[in-house]
Symmetry: D2
Amino acid sequence: MAGSGFGTIFRITSWGETHGKGVGVVVDGCPAGLELGPEDIQVYLDRRKPGQSRFTTKRKETDTVEILSGVFEGKTTGSPISLVVFNKDQRSRDYSAIMDKYRPGHADYTFDQKYGFRDYRGGGRSSGRETIARVAAGAIAAKALSQMGIELFAYTRSIGPWEIDPSRFDPAERDKNALYMPDSQAAEKAADFLEERMKQLDSSGGVVECRISGLPAGIGEPVFDKLSACLGKAILSIGAVKGFEIGDGFAVARAAGSENNDPFSMKEGRVVKKTNHAGGILGGMSDGSDILFRAAFKPTPSIGRKQASVTRQGQETEMEIKGRHDPVIVPRAVVVVETMAAVTVFDLLLQNMTSRMDRVVDFYKKS
Amino acid sequence: MAGSGFGTIFRITSWGETHGKGVGVVVDGCPAGLELGPEDIQVYLDRRKPGQSRFTTKRKETDTVEILSGVFEGKTTGSPISLVVFNKDQRSRDYSAIMDKYRPGHADYTFDQKYGFRDYRGGGRSSGRETIARVAAGAIAAKALSQMGIELFAYTRSIGPWEIDPSRFDPAERDKNALYMPDSQAAEKAADFLEERMKQLDSSGGVVECRISGLPAGIGEPVFDKLSACLGKAILSIGAVKGFEIGDGFAVARAAGSENNDPFSMKEGRVVKKTNHAGGILGGMSDGSDILFRAAFKPTPSIGRKQASVTRQGQETEMEIKGRHDPVIVPRAVVVVETMAAVTVFDLLLQNMTSRMDRVVDFYKKS
Amino acid sequence: MAGSGFGTIFRITSWGETHGKGVGVVVDGCPAGLELGPEDIQVYLDRRKPGQSRFTTKRKETDTVEILSGVFEGKTTGSPISLVVFNKDQRSRDYSAIMDKYRPGHADYTFDQKYGFRDYRGGGRSSGRETIARVAAGAIAAKALSQMGIELFAYTRSIGPWEIDPSRFDPAERDKNALYMPDSQAAEKAADFLEERMKQLDSSGGVVECRISGLPAGIGEPVFDKLSACLGKAILSIGAVKGFEIGDGFAVARAAGSENNDPFSMKEGRVVKKTNHAGGILGGMSDGSDILFRAAFKPTPSIGRKQASVTRQGQETEMEIKGRHDPVIVPRAVVVVETMAAVTVFDLLLQNMTSRMDRVVDFYKKS
Amino acid sequence: MAGSGFGTIFRITSWGETHGKGVGVVVDGCPAGLELGPEDIQVYLDRRKPGQSRFTTKRKETDTVEILSGVFEGKTTGSPISLVVFNKDQRSRDYSAIMDKYRPGHADYTFDQKYGFRDYRGGGRSSGRETIARVAAGAIAAKALSQMGIELFAYTRSIGPWEIDPSRFDPAERDKNALYMPDSQAAEKAADFLEERMKQLDSSGGVVECRISGLPAGIGEPVFDKLSACLGKAILSIGAVKGFEIGDGFAVARAAGSENNDPFSMKEGRVVKKTNHAGGILGGMSDGSDILFRAAFKPTPSIGRKQASVTRQGQETEMEIKGRHDPVIVPRAVVVVETMAAVTVFDLLLQNMTSRMDRVVDFYKKS
């Protein structure tokens, strides 16, 4: 199915290319009766909109979402919700510099290999604009989750060598700086670092971290559809992600069992864990603690420096990528990580409703 | 669907618990005409069999596979292949020590939360024995892939602080030591380190690495079913995995674009990359280079030390886990990583056959 | 997933309501390189357009399709194809007569039961306009199939008591009369019959038949995804269909095995069947003969006569459905049947490419 | 996925061939806590067991089911339930008469075309023994449904020309005669008729009807996954089924809207329909009335008469099928229809739990 769908019950299908007519998503399986308007989605889209700081492309896109179906009198109807962001900036450009060359770090070569040709306009389907569909769909999932007290909070953990200091962690700070870092000092250092990279016509990678609070225990399925596996797929499907960690992540490889196991204890009549090395997931299911995960993003592959490449016709060449590109993907990817996690968690939460026979019987006796 | 199935065309469905009658898997969608006998599968299962070294549980299980369907006159028929490993060691045990306590680092608590009760015998469905199904199914995928020149090679990259040295990397060494490390010196150091941990009634984590060679370019789907995302889900669905990386992985977060981009060049008339920071995947599709990925495994949660816990009834307690357990999961997980990657890659390779209309037309004109 | 998706490889996702902003479909998994323009789709949509004869609603809808993505330089790119038909006729109406009453034969009551409320404007999601999505997606499948010499031809077989006479069957006649009957005499009789029904403020049912020619043997999967089962699901998912038959259909219940079995023979070096009681399907797979199936459509439930009903508030009431409605669903459903069959067959044809290992190996050796 | 799986949440995966080691099924997604023992399943399997009357093959198979996983202390655990019926009668036979000839009405030819060769032993995967998997899985679904007051009752409606008389319909009679007809007079006539056919070395078709009572309104999804469409696929996937009808079925094609619409009225405070031409389904969703559907089965294709055929090598030939075969498929198919309907309905019932946001929120607030 060419992989444009994600999810089982709450299922999203994305479409669109960067320089085509627009980008959209169909959300099937959203329960009926959720209050929903364009503004619920726009607030998420605005977090990934270009042109908001000196670190993002100057391309002007308002990225205004329209709801084409599935909402009636302000509430979801149970029918598929079709969302679209039409591209405003569709003037024809001169693509001759890139249409026949494979940009290093991009999907130009692999698209040509898979399909025999490609939409060379700005990356086509593999452009970052594809994430508009993810964010729009995830905004709905996030709103639904919040009605059950489940909140997601993603942020920039590091850019290049500059990492947030946990002792200065301030959620409110995240939305105050252009880099979405919840630590103003780290954000300043990172901004200076990026300025330097831009001068060098170069780019930087970074890490996004996400916390999910309020998730009840037991979400996720024990074998192939573990919560960790489904989150991993969701996040690794975002372009430029090369690594994914839950809880202590790669650090567990050097830990001892006695350090890494989280002891159980009781608190106000509930089972809790004294520590959270597991990142809130045991045996693939949520354990009632906060879910904590991280994703590593590679540096923006579009750089102004001269790079070696080849043409479609098989000749070695050199190329410089013109125009203004984001020197780092991470800040605008924060909301993509958060919303993809929302889609994943809400879908598994809905699937989990059928886990116990007594609850199924109760459900139908009541309704 | 409770998450016991994996794959779209080549689809596997696993079943079984550690102390039940056995563990099995149904492989649907395997093309007809592949020569297959139990020995093709057994050789893979033997790589994860317990009781082979001082670092694995002494439990005696021969883990002999039977093919119950789908093979006729030595070849797959296109019908589902049902594989089973019956448990030999089924004597009843005394589970009173663990049936009412939640073992730290295990899925006991989350199973109870999800289902209302659990099969407390040795972990039930969340036991490592569940991976028998993965390995058996993956052995078939690996055999099919090898007919197209595609080979997978996984190995232990590190145990605790002891990592293989690339300059001493020797594939033939992998199967000569109990730790499946392709570097005899690192294996020796790691073995000493594990002996020490065992004396301390403790355990260690580690890293498995896997290389896939011979994969043509264009495998994987561009958006949600990227090769990286599908491999990530496959590997993160293995119990105890807490991190996953492709190519340079988390190191990309500190890299510059000019370092991380792999320049293209020509070699013997073919497009190649001069470096492989990308780990063989661009835009979610294979780029013709080797695929390289890593998985971080947490330390075995079953340790002999005294740990704080709680009972099902909500009382704080302490527990020591008796019996001999593997002090590290990694060596026996190597083949699990390799076979899950085989399942993933073969499924995406089959899906990819429909990517171009001219090839579809050709296929049906010929056949 | 709320059931708005259909297919495995060639997968369509439909959205939209009758009196909302429009109706659309996302087609994922269409092979790249198929020449495609709006006109390829429009010609199919025009066959279901209202306002073309005295037997269809007078509502004016041009039903013009737009391609929003997935086509570049006149060819499909392998990316999802997003199609939309915006509703022109969106003026607000007075729905007070139906918003609180359950129309007999319609989905008003069941929608309210499932979702707690419904979009009462003209049936919302359960309107016949939903089939626009099916026809648009199926037009693409039909074009792809035709490139392999596979053709689908559906027509009205009967309306009320008036059935086509096989001896007068004339394919060219189908598109010449308003009822899509390939027999001008039957069409005339049926037209008179419908005029009578309309005078009585009543409606009629009928039967659509479809023939698929050129399909190679072996398409369909042997157990649950039989070609007959998948066609059956596709056709029974069209609103108003209450019966489905393959080949001799219900007549087989009275036949003897010696009559019903189709003997094999040789013709020009190929295996053929002397008869085709099976309708081209044996063991769930195409057998190389023409596929022949039928669907029974119920009479249009919207009739002008007074009917007994109840209100949402649970009070008995009566209602007359105002306005002009099609007195029979069948003529405009002909193209819906044909295109749903195209979607089904193309998807199974793509799935079938992986049935033999030697063909898979060949495919990758060549490419 | 080669089509051996069925269902979304309650998902069954079948495997096995008639003359192989056995036939089995893995049931994933069954809620935990359902009391289940082999006897719950055996009682259904016994209804399709051969050797019980003069109208079934004499082959002796006890068809004893074993539960290999997913049940602990007498209750389902939420893990996959693996069921197997090992074949007892596995002695090697002489297949030379059929291995190179294509039996008319069978899948021999289509299997060879799809896969390049086939398991020629007794039909292999396309044998009626494949339905053991369906019945075993469906027994679990039926037990779960009965806990919510939902009951399924299938029976033989007709054999050849002999149909039950509604005025003599007696459910208790169904299990008293070899033909599973709930009308003793019709059963007698049909038995005589079958004796005659057997003397003529011939066979007969027939119709199975099924009623589902107690199903709440709103089950089924509005567009592609209509209850009627899903039931249709389930039933049309049973070998030998050539037609499927809901409610009045094909008779609606001749009905008027004023006859076919079921008027609503109130009864004891609940909305009811005065008639049930719709067979309990409106807009693809259950309407609270009984679901009623029918399936047409073709005559057993294995007949003793001489038939024209061809060899694998492409030579015309004749063949007589030796041995004792059931002269009619219908009686043993009754339980297959009933259980496939149970699987379908239970799966849709579980999917339906997520249809309303307020119920989702309630569910998680309580649990």
